[in-house]
């Protein structure tokens, strides 16, 4: 966090460097007695950064403060090298924002609306048209773009919202719950798009979600907020380190699972049921655990369905870290 004052010259980004896109120091926002954000120190770099937290954890509040739409109660923040307190206008010129809630007028077409929004970001008439056509194609709105947005499905609305956030070619986009209300297929598409914005388009992304699993797939870095506190901030890979456990599953129901589990325990492995699977604790070094599992299944005549290393999920981190953080200590 000591590098904060040095991150002033981020305006010209060179490829390969790791410039700070967002940095906050002691950022605090109180609404009366409600502490939406508490003494938050976060650094966000290029690429896709996931901002995770339960509803009400302060994700949207943080984005609004960074956009200059809300005044922080205390603390400071810089976005793309600009101070939020003094250079809000400059920040809003360089940043795109896709809000969580519905924000599209129903009686205009996506095409018209995105052109208008481009002009509101300072693009000239012809540049606005050209960029809108480009961006709408990138987000995957084809012929629908000429229809009034009132008739759009949720997926199409999310795409239109994303298009207006990208149309002025921002350096950074805030995507607030972009997958909200989407069916699984549309959700996958949207996550793919978020990934592409960060990698192919070269635009830094801060994407929020209350679904931790989603961000595993797309983000390079994850910031976890809990009740306005920073719970953890690290590269996605660090969250997903392998635990040394093994997960096994056999064909059948709980009866087969228990029978298999007991046999494994008898063979000297520590294991416990987890859903339909059995989690085997890291075995003693001398034991060839894979062979034991195979032989045990063969002996019992059970069909082995799954045998894989157990990876941690973001959910585990959240559950592990959340309890102490609420007590006041930060992770």
């Amino acid at each position: 966090m000591s590098a904060v004052p040095a991150s002033v010259v981020v305006v010209t980004v060179t490829q390969g460097a790791e410039p700070t896109v967002i940095s906050t120091v002691g950022l605090t926002k109180h609404y009366g007695h409600v502490h939406a954000l508490h003494d938050l120190d976060v650094e966000v770099g290029e690429g896709v950064t996931g901002l995770v937290g339960a509803n009400g954890a302060g994700k949207s509040t943080l984005i609004k403060i960074l956009l200059g739409l809300l005044e922080p109660t205390a603390g400071s923040a810089r976005v793309l090298g600009h101070d939020i307190a003094t250079a809000g206008e400059e920040i809003r010129r360089l940043v795109g924002y896709m809000p969580e809630h519905d924000c599209l007028p129903p009686d205009v077409s996506a095409s018209e609306f995105v052109v208008h929004m481009a002009r509101m970001s300072g693009l000239g008439r012809s540049a606005a048209r050209e960029r809108s056509a480009d961006v709408l194609r990138h987000v995957g709105l084809d012929e629908e773009r000429y229809r009034p947005m009132g008739g759009y499905s949720t997926g199409m609305k999310q795409r239109a919202k994303l298009a207006q956030a990208l149309v002025h070619d921002p350096r950074l986009v805030f995507l607030d719950e972009p997958t909200n209300g989407l069916d699984p297929a549309a959700r996958t598409d949207m996550l793919g798009l978020v990934r592409r914005i960060g990698s192919d388009f070269g635009i830094a992304v801060l994407v929020t979600s209350h679904l931790l699993g989603e961000l595993e797939q797309v983000s390079d870095h994850v910031v976890v907020l809990d009740a306005g506190h920073l719970l953890r901030s690290s590269a996605t890979g660090d969250f997903l380190e392998q635990t040394g456990r093994l997960l096994v599953e056999v064909i059948g129901g709980t009866e087969e699972r228990d029978r298999f589990g007991e046999a494994l325990a008898a063979a000297g492995l520590t294991c416990r049921p987890r859903g339909t699977t059995i989690a085997i604790e890291p075995p003693p070094a001398h034991l060839a655990v894979h062979d034991v599992v195979r032989d045990t299944a063969a002996d019992l005549g059970l069909g082995l369905m799954r045998l894989q290393p157990d990876r941690r999920h973001l959910e585990d981190v959240f559950l592990d870290d959340a309890a102490p953080a609420r007590g006041g200590a930060r992770g």
């Binding site: 609004k64 956009l67 739409l69 809300l70 005044e71 809000g88 206008e89 809003r92 010129r93 940043v95 795109g96 924002y97 809000p99 809630h101 519905d102 924000c103 599209l104 007028p105 129903p106 009686d107 208008h116 929004m117 002009r119 509101m120 970001s121 300072g122 693009l123 000239g124 540049a127 960029r131 480009d134 990138h138 207006q164 002025h168 070619d169 592409r196 192919d200 388009f201 070269g202």
Partner: protein, 292 residues
């Protein structure tokens, strides 16, 4: 070229934009022009154009008829002044303001697209100011157009240029004041009551019902010899302020209880206050919504 003829679309990948970007002033001007066009339904659906242009027609046609009469009859002046004409069509102007203010003030707030504006360079107060300026200008155009028809027609019919020009300029000054007031009032009502129906009804109460009551009070006060009461009542609505000032200024409007002496100053101050307060309330409303 061969590819283009075959209709192949190449995916060029994402292209960055490094062209010029307008400053706040230019963006505000773009928004102003868009707002002004939208107030008349231009750049919106065909249906949105019907009402504003119907009302504009109702406002202009009598002026054209007057011009016709003046051209064919040997008269030396118009049967009514420019300010008097505006006074005659105040109901139409009120309906136009009530119907079109929600287009500029309710839509963005109701559909919450306001957030998308506020996430862009224009600050909230500039946004509110620009919206208000669009509506004020639209109202001015709406009221000025028939006045100009009268003026040009009158001059072509050989009326005195000097006298007509003075009359017109007086009317324009009053129009600017009333447009600013009406835009402030209807703009604020529309930015608070986001359902279009409520906004229209609220504006009609403020611009039609209240002035009607004021006129009734003034008539009674005049009848009863209590002129002061009538003059004071005139402070209560934009139209009575306008017509009271027009009367006091000799702009060709007569009211039951014209303001005199210090009351004239009071009328001017209240009119300016109404416009300023309406504008301030709109700005406050936009700032509040922006931080939600």
């Amino acid at each position: 070229m061969a590819d283009q003829r075959a209709g192949v679309i190449h995916d060029l990948g994402y292209r960055h934009y490094d062209g010029p970007r307008d400053g706040v002033a230019t963006i505000a001007r773009t928004l102003f022009v868009t707002g002004l066009r939208h107030a008349f339904g231009l750049g919106r659906s065909g249906r949105s154009k019907i009402l504003p242009f119907l009302l504009l027609g109702i406002a202009v046609v009598p002026a054209a008829v007057v011009v016709g009469v003046v051209t064919f009859l040997p008269v030396s002046e118009l049967p009514l002044t420019y300010a008097g004409y505006t006074n005659q069509i105040q109901l139409v102007v009120s309906l136009f303001a009530a119907a079109q203010a929600p287009v500029l003030f309710s839509r963005d707030l109701r559909h919450r697209s306001i957030v998308l504006y506020l996430a862009r360079p224009l600050p909230a107060h500039v946004l509110a100011l620009t919206r208000w300026f669009s509506l004020t200008t639209a109202l001015l155009v709406f009221m000025l157009l028939p006045a100009l028809v009268l003026y040009v027609g009158g001059l072509l019919a050989g009326l005195d240029v000097g006298g007509q020009t003075v009359d017109l300029l007086k009317a324009v000054a009053l129009l600017v004041l009333v447009a600013a007031m009406v835009a402030g009032i209807t703009g604020f009502i529309s930015s608070v009551s986001l359902r279009r129906g409520f906004a229209v009804v609220g504006s009609i109460v403020a611009l039609v019902v209240v002035p009607g009551v004021v006129t009734a009070v003034q008539a009674i006060a005049s009848e009863e010899g209590a002129d002061e009461v009538g003059v004071a009542a005139g402070l209560a609505s934009p139209w009575s302020l306008n017509s009271g000032l027009a009367d006091a200024w000799g702009a060709g409007v007569t009211v039951f209880t014209p303001p005199t002496g210090a009351w004239v100053a009071a009328y001017v101050v209240v009119a300016l206050l109404v416009a300023a307060l309406g504008l301030a309330a709109i700005v406050a409303r936009f700032l509040r919504v922006g931080s939600q």
